[in-house]
């Protein structure tokens, strides 16, 4: 798809441009997110700028085509000017500028998930490239397979709030979970972010929690904000003395109880009745999966014939008990 039509940077003479003439708020070509400038600043501070940035004239000022991080580092180092290759808007069209920026960046660094999303969205929206072309030509360069699911997931990340984007690049959220979150409204994303901020959910538990939250809110016709401001979650928020893992487990328990109220009630009832049997800790008594079926299951371990006999005697002693009958009636 590329770059013969794009004016080559190597043919361009470079010159120093005052930083005050660079409009760093114009982010049309930007494909960097939350850059860590530490190393770059050190390098530029020690040996100066090796690779000139690319600017495009726009009225009195310049747009950054490539080199946002370098401009930010230069500002931070209090430089007055920076070496740049200059293009006029006639020389470099909008879409060629985007392509130039992409290939310039591709040669010098990797892209995190949010940056990859910016690239995909840019090629689609700014360069007018179609989905198939982007999937086949751009995604492999970004290190992805060319599947539709990946394309749409990356594209959807542009709808994520800034806070969620930060979490994504900290590698705390997978692409697919992030894509799921990006499908929620910005208000819902904020509510979700607040609710989950003090929890530690792994990938699978996050996916499960997102799904349950979405289903509850759809079922009960609630926004996430209404849902997470319910008494249950307020109470959890006030439990300052809980460890993060305990709080996370409590959160999931609450979510499950709301998503599956009858099942949770049954589980609790089963648990309460089972306690009355006073089984030793080594004996397990479980209902069938999802209470589907008509048999209870007893499991136990033992180390000696005496222990075995003692457990069997205990089991026998409860055979006629009301508690056991009640447990069976629950099935």
């Amino acid at each position: 798809m590329i770059p013969e039509t794009i004016p080559k940077k190597e043919n361009k003479k470079t010159q120093s441009v005052p930083l005050t003439l660079i409009d760093y708020r114009d982010e049309v070509f930007r494909m960097s997110f939350c850059p860590d400038l530490g190393a770059l600043k050190t390098s530029m501070g020690k040996i100066g700028l090796i690779n000139p940035i690319i600017l495009r004239g726009r009225g009195e000022r310049f747009q950054i085509v490539s080199g946002y991080r370098r401009v930010l580092a230069a500002q931070s180092l209090e430089w007055e000017g920076i070496k740049a290759a200059l293009y006029t808007s006639d020389e470099l069209s909008h879409s060629d500028g985007f392509r130039l920026s992409f290939y310039e960046n591709l040669g010098t660094r990797g892209f995190n998930l949010i940056e990859a999303s910016m690239v995909v969205t840019g090629f689609f929206e700014q360069c007018g490239q179609d989905e198939k072309q982007i999937r086949e030509e751009v995604l492999p360069l970004l290190g992805f397979n060319s599947g539709r699911k990946i394309f749409h997931a990356l594209q959807s990340l542009s709808h994520l709030s800034h806070e969620w984007k930060e979490l994504v690049i900290k590698n705390e959220i997978s692409l697919l979970n992030a894509a799921k979150i990006s499908s929620f409204s910005s208000c819902d994303q904020i509510s979700l972010g607040t609710a989950l901020s003090e929890l530690k959910l792994g990938e699978n538990k996050l996916r499960e929690s997102l799904e349950m939250t979405e289903e509850i809110c759809k079922r009960d016709e609630l926004s996430f904000s209404e849902f997470f401001s319910s008494q249950h979650f307020k109470f959890l928020g006030q439990q300052g003395d809980l460890k993060i893992t305990e709080k996370t487990e409590q959160f999931r328990k609450i979510l499950k109880a709301i998503r599956y109220p009858e099942f949770s009630r049954k589980q609790q009832e089963f648990h309460d009745i089972r306690k009355k049997l006073l089984f030793p800790p080594s004996v397990g008594l479980e209902p069938p999966e999802s209470f589907e079926g008509d048999k209870l299951k007893v499991t136990f371990g033992f180390r000696s014939p005496e222990e075995f006999r003692s457990i069997v005697e205990k089991l026998e002693s409860v055979a006629g008990s009301e508690a056991l009958k009640n447990l069976l009636r629950m099935l």
């Binding site: 539709r148 079922r219 599956y260 009858e262 099942f263 999802s290 589907e292 079926g293 099935l331």
Partner: protein
């Protein structure tokens, strides 16, 4: 039923000159035709291939068995129903339909070798001449949705009239019964409608006839001499379900003679794991997945057993209030659910099959 007109018809070379193929094609002169032994269909990027496949037909014949045992679920009480898969894939687009994840071909396959199917039925019936075999269409497609073009259901109904131990049940969500009304069913052929409250039909059964049209069609078929059945399947638990389903029961008995309703089946919504992402993607507005659906030992998700039992007991009570003798059965449920709903479980599938046979004999006597 012009809403189900295809956009394209593929024809296998072997059936190009078949009279049934010719009959179908003649009714659709404006539809482009391509002769291919395997349809090569290029689905455009981003299009819903399931939906697109509902507008492409493939007329072919199958050398294999098209009369099969109903694919029962392990651990559930099976009723030994047999199915005729003369059409595979359905033009109606129900959100809960398992075919979405089950059928690999992006088109509707229409097997025009009806004579082979009839031979297969005859062979089956001859295996036990004293037994009444219940054989239905409508497992892999709606039985009447394409009837205007194929005439398969009326042709098969006519064939079954001469079979002494074969009972044919036409299952549908459609109201297009014109062809069937031309036949005299002699009280021997069954037609059954899958029913749900109208709001569920509107939300979850895209392209299916309204409840009122289904019941009007049922009343006309009953008048013509067909035996009528109803399938409350899948029943959906949602706010206000009791009132809505109670009203459906009331409307059925207000429109039809109770003694000609051969049976009513009940089945709660259930789905295999693979269907959930498909429903979420294809029907993002649907709320059917928001119910208290949990995985069972067979891997299928169902409403919690206690909820299903309550649901079945209630609807059984509503039905019995209109007709205490009504034959009611549960579809794909375990013996213990049967016992809790009806107070008895059929001992096994043969016992259940015997109960159906008795019911058919009783209806055929009248």
């Amino acid at each position: 039923m012009s809403q189900f007109k295809p956009q394209k018809i593929f024809i296998h070379p072997a059936v190009l000159n078949d009279p049934i193929t010719q009959g179908i094609v003649e009714k659709l002169p404006e539809i482009p035709i391509e002769v291919q032994s395997t349809p090569r269909i290029k689905t455009e990027e981003g299009t819903d291939s399931v939906e697109a496949g509902k507008r492409i037909w493939f007329l072919t014949s199958s050398p294999g068995q098209l009369v099969k045992e109903c694919p029962a679920t392990p651990r559930q009480l099976c009723c030994r129903y047999r199915v005729i898969n003369v059409i595979t894939n359905c033009p109606i687009d129900c959100s809960y339909c398992i075919l979405q994840g089950y059928i690999n071909n992006p088109f509707i396959t229409i097997h025009v070798n009806l004579d082979d199917i009839k031979s297969q039925v005859k062979e089956l019936l001859q295996t036990d001449p004293l037994h009444i075999f219940r054989i239905g269409s409508g497992e892999l497609s709606d039985s009447l949705a394409l009837e205007e073009y194929t005439g398969f259901s009326s042709d098969l109904a006519n064939f079954f009239l001469s079979q002494k131990n074969g009972f044919f049940e036409i299952k549908t969500k459609s109201h297009h019964i014109e062809k069937l009304l031309k036949l005299d069913p002699q009280g021997k052929i069954g037609i059954s409608w899958s029913v749900n409250p109208e709001d569920i039909i509107q939300q979850e059964e895209k392209g299916a006839s309204t409840l009122a049209l289904r019941l009007r069609a049922a009343a006309r078929c009953m008048e013509r001499g067909y035996l009528i059945g109803f399938h409350f399947d899948p029943m959906i638990l949602y706010p206000g379900w009791e009132e809505k389903y109670h009203a459906v029961v009331g409307t059925i008995y207000a429109s039809l003679k109770p003694d000609r309703i051969m049976w009513i089946s009940l089945g709660g919504f259930r789905y295999p794991r693979f269907l959930k992402p498909i429903i979420r993607e294809r029907f993002p507005q649907s709320k059917i997945l928001c119910g208290e659906l949990l995985p069972g030992p067979d891997g299928k998700y169902r409403y919690l057993k206690a909820l299903r039992i309550e649901m079945y007991r209630k609807i059984v009570d509503w039905i019995k209030a209109y007709n205490p003798e009504q034959f009611i059965y549960l579809c794909m449920e375990s013996s213990d659910v049967w016992e809790k709903v009806f107070g008895f479980p059929p001992a096994n599938r043969n016992e259940l099959d015997r109960l159906f046979a008795e019911r058919i004999r009783e209806l055929w006597k009248h």
